[in-house]
Subunit: 138 residues, 2 copies
DNA sequence: ATGAGGCTTCCAGCGGCTGGAAGGTCAACC
DNA sequence: GGTTGACCTTCCAGCCGCTGGAAGCCTCAT
């Protein structure tokens, strides 16, 4: 199976697959002509990686997950810990974005959005209103 | 005012300020010794940039905002549009993260997290459960 | 004169790809 | 046999927004 079909099967761009080989996430063998030859288990791994990446795991976490996946004597605890770390990261990011959203939403609401120059958004960026951004909690 | 004090005053690392000069967001004059000399309006701009960046605007959006800020004949509509685009981006990101959070949360809850190898997280990564991820809506 | 702490420039690297150039290979068709 | 055209290969550069570090100059206090 060449890289084109592998890409199709795994749902990843060929470029990404080459990159994954470069960083040694996968090690497909080569045909005599130098073409990568993907075995079913390579495809399987690629699909695994695609899904782990889609869930937001970093490449290094994916490497670890793949290692655990292939280790029959793993403890599910180790997998769960990785996932929990990632979950906490997601939660932190959501909280951060929500705070931004709140501030920015207020500013947008306060802005007339007409052809006059006066603009609460710019005013806030130039010197944030003392109570407008959660007082002292940043 | 040298870069150290400017960094202190604006709440940005000196490295970042040099970078902002390189990409021409600011143009501080130079002393005879080659040191950057920051005028009060430079500091003001840097603080503006720091706040705009903290709200998640991209560098190019910050450039546009700064331009509008300095343009006395601006229309607040233009500022508002920029902010709304960014707001939509934030909302999209939040929605995306929430979807991830939901999926990952379920998997974490389903995982025993003990010393046995069986793990729903890995199982899902290897072949997602057909109904587990929003059916067909991806 | 020396040393500490600023400042300068330049280059490299982070993550995770992505685009593009230059060239080899293969299968099909005339 | 020749020629497309689609595939494959490698390598280098770039995205964003910094950040770290090296090498060297400037300034001020001792």
């Amino acid at each position: 199976m060449n890289i084109g079909q592998a890409a199709e099967a795994a749902g990843l761009p060929a470029k990404t697959i080459r990159y994954y080989e470069e960083i040694e996430l996968i090690k497909p063998r080569r045909d005599d002509n130098g073409y990568r030859a993907f075995a079913p288990e390579d495809i399987h791994k690629l699909a695994f990686l695609a899904r782990a990446r889609a869930l937001g795991f970093t490449i290094e976490e994916c490497r670890a997950l793949l290692g655990l996946y292939e280790d029959e004597s793993r403890a599910s605890e180790d997998v769960k810990k990785l996932a929990q770390v990632h979950l906490a990261r997601i939660d932190a990011k959501i909280a951060e974005l929500r705070a931004l959203r709140a501030t920015l939403g207020e500013l947008v609401d306060a802005c007339a959005g007409d052809n006059r120059p006066d603009c609460p958004i710019l005013n806030d960026l130039a010197a944030p209103a003392p109570g407008a951004r959660g007082a002292k909690a940043r």
